[in-house]
Symmetry: none
Subunit: 216 residues, 4 copies
Amino acid sequence: MPRRPATEEAREERRTALLDAAMRLWVEHPERVSNVSDVARAAGIAKGTVYLYFKSKEDLLLAAHERHVEAFFDALLERAQQPERMTLDDMIALTRHHIVEVPAFLPLAMLISSLLDKSVTPEVVRAFEQRKSGRLNAAGALLCRHFDFENVTAGVRLLMQSYGLMLGLWQLLGSACCSQIYANGEALSPDYLTELDNALRALWRGTLNSKDDSHA
Amino acid sequence: MPRRPATEEAREERRTALLDAAMRLWVEHPERVSNVSDVARAAGIAKGTVYLYFKSKEDLLLAAHERHVEAFFDALLERAQQPERMTLDDMIALTRHHIVEVPAFLPLAMLISSLLDKSVTPEVVRAFEQRKSGRLNAAGALLCRHFDFENVTAGVRLLMQSYGLMLGLWQLLGSACCSQIYANGEALSPDYLTELDNALRALWRGTLNSKDDSHA
Amino acid sequence: MPRRPATEEAREERRTALLDAAMRLWVEHPERVSNVSDVARAAGIAKGTVYLYFKSKEDLLLAAHERHVEAFFDALLERAQQPERMTLDDMIALTRHHIVEVPAFLPLAMLISSLLDKSVTPEVVRAFEQRKSGRLNAAGALLCRHFDFENVTAGVRLLMQSYGLMLGLWQLLGSACCSQIYANGEALSPDYLTELDNALRALWRGTLNSKDDSHA
Amino acid sequence: MPRRPATEEAREERRTALLDAAMRLWVEHPERVSNVSDVARAAGIAKGTVYLYFKSKEDLLLAAHERHVEAFFDALLERAQQPERMTLDDMIALTRHHIVEVPAFLPLAMLISSLLDKSVTPEVVRAFEQRKSGRLNAAGALLCRHFDFENVTAGVRLLMQSYGLMLGLWQLLGSACCSQIYANGEALSPDYLTELDNALRALWRGTLNSKDDSHA
DNA sequence: AATGAATGAGGTTTCATTCAT
DNA sequence: CATGAATGAAACCTCATTCAT
């Protein structure tokens, strides 16, 4: 472990190590949000050093969440830029792989939501929201290549709605089972996955067919 | 202030007063979750007294959330038991009135989700989930009278999915505006409402039409 | 359970029931001093009623301790008033039966000692000490009939010293084993008893022989 | 006040300062056990800092007690290692100096006894007891050089019994006067000292002479 | 006399953050 | 840059005691 990340690259490496450590601990102890001390130790650095890389604990958690979101959008953009037409199944698979099956994604997203209301300065929130909305719009626009949307906003909308569905259903179906899931070391609850599949299909069907309806 | 709520009714009144106070403080200070001491003061009773009515702070918040949920389901059941056929617009109006426009409903629901993973004993969580699922099933079954579902579970599913959509979209569209909204004392963000409307219609359309699709 | 102990006798009965309950709970939960609420419930009365019979929790514990002490002295006086000459073995047996084997006697005595320094008004302490010293002197005087003491204070001294030995050794040998003892439901630790036996014999030998020594 | 006790030595100094403060407060306010907050203030550090040095309040009190015990044994061992033969008077003087006249020794020992039954984990208790018994055995063995014991355990026994006598007699004779004594700022109660002297002499006489008795 | 709901002081402990080294 | 000891606010919860009924 280099003591002085002189370069920007080294700095980024440490940030990454901290986020990795935080998520690792989250998965290991889903019953509580790890404290800064534990995260630092797990990342192999001192507690005070954390504050050289993140303004606050909330800032760290928000960054971890944003990394999750970013990874999903990166995968989505990559896929959407390929020529072969995407299907709903492709979308669901992508979703499952980069959101549902990333252990801390949804519970962390839930916590972030509570966090944003308090403990975080409005500027930080706004910046975060703008980055997220930028990605959303880009991805939504690309989706139009693959699906027959009425207009360009429909892609953005569907993404947004799908994400919302994922998150909201997780509260109903994921949390109670959460502890069991982690305890058993198994994958995610089949019920949540089944229901999510169902819901996403209904939502997309409802959106994609509305065009046809209006034709009729 | 009566020193002894002799009757069970009086006891319930105090519980209610405490929950009211907690929600009032939530709305007044959305930037932080009030501590027990403040809630007690706002309700005009001593801190220790709170613990005669709720096992812990988390228990109180969970009860406040459950009261929200209960109020929605009560209204839904009442409407569903009336003979006149419900429309999707009725559903959306009901939803808007008892969920979206209840100030602390969605942010509290968000917090509860984080809370249930920790700080609350599994038994309490299970009991809460069972009551909620009981209400959900009852309401879902009644909905079949009004909509042409494929089968009885479709009603339950749609409710669940609708609730999920509401909650999840809230994170994307509600939270950032949340503080501004409360600060201005205005009504809810139009964007969240519009989008929710859109999303719910798509979801319901997708579910209700799937039957016809299979016919075709 | 009569609601109004009109007579002094009935009052005494309730006091007794409370002390019984307190000691029962002590034995059942040696790991903590029961709170007033539990004692009251175990005695079948309301919490507030306790304060009609004892000025405070400390007062109750002190009374329980004094009952222990009183029982021992009563037995000692009774035996000492019988004509047949007592032996050291008689004394040790008496001691064992009324002190060592009364489950809460020694730990409570230990607690009382801490209590008297604080939480109890000097008047109460003085009254308690005077009653105790009265019994001690009476018993000590009677012992002279049975043992060849140099003078009358020697009896009092020996009693006092013996009690001290019991209590002090208890701290060294009793407490660590205490939990195991209660946990196993067995009688007292053999080590404590053996050592106490040893110590008491040495003490008495040293006192009774000192007379002979001075003769020599 | 240095912010960082860099060395292990400095750390030990702070521990010592905390124990000193706790004992100082005990002596100044014998009517109550100081809370951690007061101890911290008296030591000139923050409340939270106490928990960097002691796991809990009980842990602190136990450490203070152990320091008392340690000081006595250290003095005893030092004396016992000198060539000149010890007398009973030497023992009594040592005892008086390091136990009886250390203001908080005996009342704290009394409290510890109550504490060990609760509020302290069995492991901590066991570790403490083992250290204490280690010192006791070492000291007891050394005593054989100076006194004509039947066997090596007699030394250990006598120490144990003497300590018990001190502690137990303290409850009878020390505690009632305790507050007055401290209040007056005078030395210890002469009665307790006289009686302890008496008792110790009888005990030792009884043990040391038993050998001769058996000879006769 | 009896009750038990209400009280609220009192205490412990945690932990995000700072800052002297 | 890195450290980690120190901080001290913040929060929770208990329970002996009171007192209106």
